[in-house]
Symmetry: C2
Subunit: 419 residues, 2 copies
């Protein structure tokens, strides 16, 4: 069996397959698992990148039936049952696609070229560098227009990622910039959060949306709903109305789409958001031995006619469920259909500010914030990572600080600044 991808779905599956009577090869283009829900804290200097990454080999090292290879997959040759990759061709009897998702620019090539994504650790680090380089650069600019554009942040998309990033930037503006840049007009730093639909966090409850927007406004974030972005050329963000922004930094958090693989990307297989259609056993249509789990898989059910949300929870549950089904398969039993156990969702906006939808309970504030932290620590892989993240959070909380504001690899340098 070959598993492509060591994200939430792939790792959850792997844990179930440990010590089963199957040889498993896991492929990933990174040698580590990324805890994506905390990437925004890396971008904003609150956490070090190494504390939300975990070596895949370390996870698999206890499983004697597992092999890992660092590889980029180019194509699936379903006819010959081969994975074609940059390290050669690998034969499979069973194949699991757990390739996850990538930033969705909805076909807007220009915006893609000029905006920052935040789906991987290198991307999060690039954003961290850019944010800090902006302030350094603003100090040197004589033109007020350019200075303001450097300090004008536009976040496209007010899902959890956009909301959390906006909140973290607002905290930096308030707690850090006045000390770090006493010679900068910090009040001119603008954090703009743009949402195409009528409310922020629109996958959550009305209560969560309302509270989150209030928290954001409290923190000084400019929230614009019903404001889809139509273009960004590296200088001007245009929207559906006359509203425009001159900005050197646009962060694109408007959505994700499935990370498809050649060979399984024909229209036959693909449904909305570029995801691969699977049945209730996570089997890809037309195959008995190719599964897809997590963000890449769209299982259309009565409760979820557009597939499950592209988030950690469905990925983890599908991974585990497929592991159990695979055991059934190996022992000749019938597989069981996947059923999603929706545990609710949550988002944090800033210190003591979070919103939680937990079944019929909707709450917000400090309790929600502590629950958010607890849940994220719980799902983080590795005791050391948990400890380091915990230490950072306690420190940041007590000191109102985010100390990892380091430009380790400059991003803008040697790039054109259009503003």
């Amino acid at each position: 069996m070959i598993i492509i991808g060591g994200g939430f779905a792939g790792i959850s599956l792997a844990k179930k397959l440990a010590r089963q009577k199957a040889q498993v090869i896991m492929l990933d283009k990174h040698n580590y698992h990324t805890f994506q829900p905390l990437l925004y804290q890396v971008s904003t200097g609150g956490l070090e990148p190494d504390s939300i990454a975990y070596p895949i080999r370390k996870i698999l090292s206890n499983y004697s039936n597992f092999f890992f290879r660092l590889a980029e997959v180019n194509e699936i040759d379903t006819e010959n049952q081969q994975v074609i990759s940059d390290i050669g061709n690998l034969e499979y009897d069973y194949l699991v696609l757990a390739t996850g998702s990538v930033t969705n620019y909805f076909g807007n090539k220009e915006a893609e070229e000029h905006s920052m994504g935040m789906k991987t650790i290198p991307e999060a680090l690039d954003l961290r560098s850019l944010i800090l380089e902006n302030f350094e650069q603003a100090l040197l600019e004589d033109s007020k227009q350019r200075r303001d554009a450097l300090m004008n942040f536009v976040i496209v998309g007010a899902g959890p990622t956009g909301v959390e990033l906006a909140g973290a930037l607002a905290e930096i503006k308030k707690g850090i910039l006045p000390h770090d840049y006493p010679d900068l007009e910090v009040k001119n730093v603008q954090i703009n959060l743009l949402q195409a639909t009528p409310r922020v966090l629109d996958a959550m409850s009305e209560h969560a949306s309302r509270k989150a927007e209030a928290f954001l406004t409290d923190l000084g974030v400019n929230v614009f709903v019903n404001t889809p972005v139509t273009s960004y050329d590296g200088e001007i963000v245009k929207t559906n109305s006359s509203l425009t922004f001159r900005s050197a930094t646009v962060i694109w958090a408007a959505g994700v789409k499935g990370a498809t693989v050649k060979g399984l990307d024909a229209d036959d297989f693909i449904t909305r958001m570029n995801r691969i259609k699977v049945n209730e056993y996570n089997l890809v249509k037309g195959f008995e031995n190719i599964f897809a789990v997590g963000d890449i898989a769209s299982m259309e059910t009565e409760d979820f006619p557009q597939g499950h949300p592209m988030m950690a929870q469905p990925a983890i549950q599908q991974g585990r469920h497929l592991g159990d089904n695979f055991e059934r398969l190996l022992s000749g039993k019938a597989m069981e259909p996947f059923k999603y156990n929706d545990k609710g969702s949550m988002a944090t906006i800033g210190r003591n500010k979070a919103v939680v939808d937990f079944n019929r309970y909707k709450f917000h504030g400090m309790l929600a914030w502590f629950l958010w932290m607890f849940v994220h620590l719980f799902f983080l892989i590795g005791f050391r990572n948990r400890l380091v993240v915990f230490v950072n959070w306690v420190y940041n909380y007590i000191r109102f600080d985010k100390e990892a504001r380091l430009i380790i690899r400059p991003y803008r340098k040697n790039r054109d600044l259009k503003i």
Copy 2:
């Protein structure tokens, strides 16, 4: 006053100048101070980079007379008293060079091109990536010769950096590789430490050298003394004898040289190891207002006819001393000559294995190791950094582990592999 460089010397000076009656501008090409003595632990996955870096702005934020600018200095125009940099020209009344040092390849351009240095955080991260990429690559190689070359590490220079790195690699070979790479012939991993002079750690006592070499041999490091490297072309390391190594990874820790700046780099100013000659007040010859401190400065005294060692302690002490002298200068008093208080030196080889020369006391083993850790924690800047490093060390010690083995930015990829 302008200070160029936020290393040990520059920061120690800054702390003394805080709240003095002088406006101070600090320039650095990084926005953070690097704790260089622990870079080798970043390269070997024992510590995350962010825990040994500290934002310079955060250090200076309490000093209202300080300004920081992220800048690369191109030249000093001593005639017009200007620093010429990539952010423009800055006038100074007093100038302090605290530019530190760079890796010294002793003019060997070919070795410089193919070897890895380890003087900055990006360099340390590149080395971390390369070490891990080597093992991933070795798994894919059919040729035993290439496989062995990928697993053959050559460290040039057995000063503290070389010794500490060799020890850490040996611990990885023993404690981590067998679990992470069960399908690799780990016993073929070779760690070779080459020293040009007759003993390792030759700036320390005979006792320290002897014990360090014994510790290294215990750990499985191949130590070669009296073995200067003559060339490395990306494939073969040649030495002064018939001894050669086929290696994909040569780490150059053979020494450092002063990081000079144009305008003050004429033969007049420069002495051995590319350092700038200074008098007992750290004044550069021929100037009343240009100082040099730390690695870049060579103060030739009776006790140190070749200048002080290019290490943290002399840099810290010179920085502090110049701060006091500057206060005297401002209040019209006579400056006092610098006197180095040699507190001894130490190096660690592995868990419970270190050597310490402390005045006339020479000791080694577990006590030396704890002292080494205590001293390094003490000199690390920032409470959070100390805490995170401490947590990592305790974890690594208990678990025999180094978990930051992450290839965040691949290094070799897209480069030619010559072996």
